[in-house]
């Protein structure tokens, strides 16, 4: 018997309104994501990939449709409930890493757990050190984000995304700003962690190399899965 899917979206619609002008971006997206699945989200620019990621990441709300994650209908959840849910169950890896520049690598990784616990616990720091070691940055633990290279920053971002052991990690062009070697290292890491921690990944990309590393590809075109 297969496990229940981590994510189920049905007829997801997102329309942006500016005055009287309506711009439909997502036009009824349907998709599921299984536990530990590594899935690429492909599509040309303007196809709605980033909008879909922000909705799946609970950073934006759909205009209509159903968004269920871990069996919970998120379309009716309050802002505070979504914030808490996001902190506990979703990790993000952005194209430009988006680390907090005034904090060290360790502090950046601990951040999601500290938000949850209200303080930095020793246990969270141990887990953060372990994650940084896993992404090969044990020697950079106390470096400020500004002192790290692009590849190192992205690896710290991956460690941060995994801090609270989320069921889903959403990655938006995670290798887009990296050179070839760094991109390969990051993809290896994502594949390894997905396997080891049974974390589901949805990776938005234009890069066929990245898509080829994923077991499944979902193509979005003109706001719908094709």
């Amino acid at each position: 018997m297969s496990a229940a899917p981590v994510l189920v979206v049905s007829d997801l619609v997102k329309t942006f309104r500016e005055g009287a002008v309506e711009t439909p971006v997502l036009k009824g997206v349907n998709m599921t994501l299984a536990e530990g699945e590594l899935c690429a989200l492909l599509g040309p620019s303007g196809s709605g990939k980033s909008t879909l990621l922000t909705i799946l990441g609970t950073l934006a709300r759909p205009t209509s449709g159903s968004h269920v994650m871990l069996g919970r209908d998120l379309t009716s959840a309050s802002d505070a409930e979504l914030t808490e849910f996001r902190n506990a169950h979703i990790g993000f890896v952005f194209q430009f890493h988006h680390l907090l520049p005034d904090f060290t690598a360790l502090e950046n990784v601990v951040f999601p757990a500290a938000l949850r616990d209200g303080r930095e616990t020793a246990r969270a720091r141990d887990r953060a050190r372990e994650l940084l070691a896993r992404v090969g940055l044990e020697s950079r633990v106390d470096y400020r984000a500004t002192q790290l290279s692009g590849g190192q920053k992205q690896r710290v971002a991956i460690a941060r995304a995994l801090m609270n052991r989320p069921e889903l990690v959403l990655a938006d062009e995670p290798t887009g700003s990296l050179d070839k070697d760094s991109a390969r290292q990051v993809l290896d890491l994502i594949a390894e962690i997905s396997q080891a921690e049974r974390t589901s990944y949805l990776i938005s990309t234009h890069d066929d190399t990245v898509a080829a590393r994923c077991r499944r590809q979902v193509r979005l075109d003109n706001g719908a899965v094709v």
Binding site: L59, E84, R86, N87, D102, F111, R119
Partner: protein, 402 residues
């Protein structure tokens, strides 16, 4: 350490020079607040001390009896009364019973039962009108600090000596050790040996006052029993109204506080305090504007970071609190620095009572340090509310996609 405090502290220390400038600005505002409090307080102490330092704070007299009504006509609303003779004196006949009661009050510093009257002082061909005050021998300096204002002799009173104002003595041409004759308005004449001369800088005292012993005054003014008045000096001059009401209620006598005859001084002090409060309010407003503008810039600059925090699961409340805590910390550190500097700068000033005419009457005790610190923390915290609310409204999706 709570995580919100750590984040707020990290943001404050991220740009040390900017934060140092902001805190310095707050400290200067607090310094102005402390300085104005000490200056206005010191001025008040000086003015009050110079005005009421040598006068009675409460004067107790027998209540005036209502004038006798002679004729009343309700149709034309005319009332005819008999004027009291100026020679008729109202005495505190049973005052002896009240003296120990009043003296025992904790707020009372000194008490001086007195027999007073008018007369002429004669020295050869010269004569001068005098206001004679008969006091108990050990109470001559109880109300007016004549001891420190003596120009010659001593304040010691016996039944045969007299202490005079320097100007009065000059007018009569007498010195300590010489004899003067005193004729009371009752026509009784006695000779006294001049025991001491004083100059307090008040014309009414220096040019007209003569102090004799209570027993001598009883003889001069034919008052074998009772008192003309009781003068009371308090530890705190500002309690005069309340204590006077209490004495009047307890004894049934007329108790007049110094404030009743110094309304202009009180108005002046109030106006002075209002001006000081206005300056202090402006200092606080400057702090609020400084903190609000600095935090507004900070929240604008940190919009991407706020978006990332929100994406990681930071609630709007957490973001709000980060910036409010920053405001409070700026207020606390700036407040401590400002009050500390204020105290250090004001401490060398002598008490206002000892300030010379050219010096600033600074009262370091009235720096209102606690109030300044409290108001600064509150003001800086309030100033951070608007920027923090603006920070909490940042939508992560808009800044992440930039």
């Amino acid at each position: 350490m709570p995580f919100v405090l750590k984040v707020a502290f990290r943001y404050l220390t991220a740009n040390k020079s900017q934060t140092a400038l902001l805190i310095s600005g707050v400290a200067v505002g607090v310094f102005v607040f402390v300085f104005m409090s000490a200056l206005i307080g010191g001025l008040a102490v000086l003015l009050v001390q110079r005005t009421v330092g040598n006068i009675s704070h409460i004067t107790i007299e027998a209540p005036d009896a209502d004038a006798d009504a002679i004729a009343v006509d309700s149709h034309i609303r005319q009332l005819l009364v008999r004027q009291r003779s100026s020679a008729q004196r109202t005495l505190l006949r049973s005052a002896d019973a009240f003296v120990p009661l009043i003296e025992a009050m904790s707020e009372v510093k000194a008490i001086s039962p007195q027999v007073v009257g008018n007369g002429f002082m004669l020295r050869g061909e010269r004569r001068a009108a005098v206001s004679v005050t008969g006091v108990e021998p050990d109470k001559v300096t109880a109300i007016a600090d004549l001891g420190s204002r003596l120009t010659a002799g001593s304040t010691e009173l016996t039944s045969s000596n007299i202490v005079l104002g320097q100007k009065l003595a000059d007018d009569l041409g007498v010195r300590v050790g010489q004899v003067v004759r005193l004729r009371s308005d009752r026509g009784i004449e006695r000779s006294f040996l001049v025991g001491g001369l004083f100059a307090v800088g008040v014309e009414a005292l220096d040019g007209r006052a003569a102090f004799v012993s209570l027993s001598a005054a009883r003889t001069l003014f034919e008052i074998p029993q009772g008192l003309s008045r009781i003068e009371v000096k308090l530890n705190d001059v500002y309690q005069a109204d309340a204590i006077a009401r209490r004495i009047a209620a307890d004894t049934g006598l007329d108790a007049t506080p110094w404030t009743a005859n110094n309304a202009q001084l009180l108005d002046g002090l109030r106006a002075q305090a209002s001006s000081g409060n206005l300056i202090k309010a402006f200092a606080l407003i400057t702090i609020v504007i400084g903190v609000a503008s600095a935090l507004s810039l900070s929240t604008y600059r940190r919009r991407p970071e706020i978006g990332i925090m929100r994406a990681m699961g930071a609630s709007r409340g957490f973001v709000t609190l980060v910036f409010i805590v920053q405001g409070a910390l700026i207020g606390l550190i700036g407040g401590l620095l400002g009050t500390g500097l204020g105290y250090a700068a004001l401490a060398p000033f002598p008490p206002p009572e000892l300030t010379g005419s050219a010096g600033l009457p600074i009262d370091v005790r009235q720096g209102a340090y606690g109030l300044a610190l409290l108001l600064t923390v509150v003001a800086a915290t309030l100033a951070s509310i608007l920027p923090s609310r603006s920070a909490a409204r940042v939508e992560p999706v808009t800044v992440i996609s930039q």
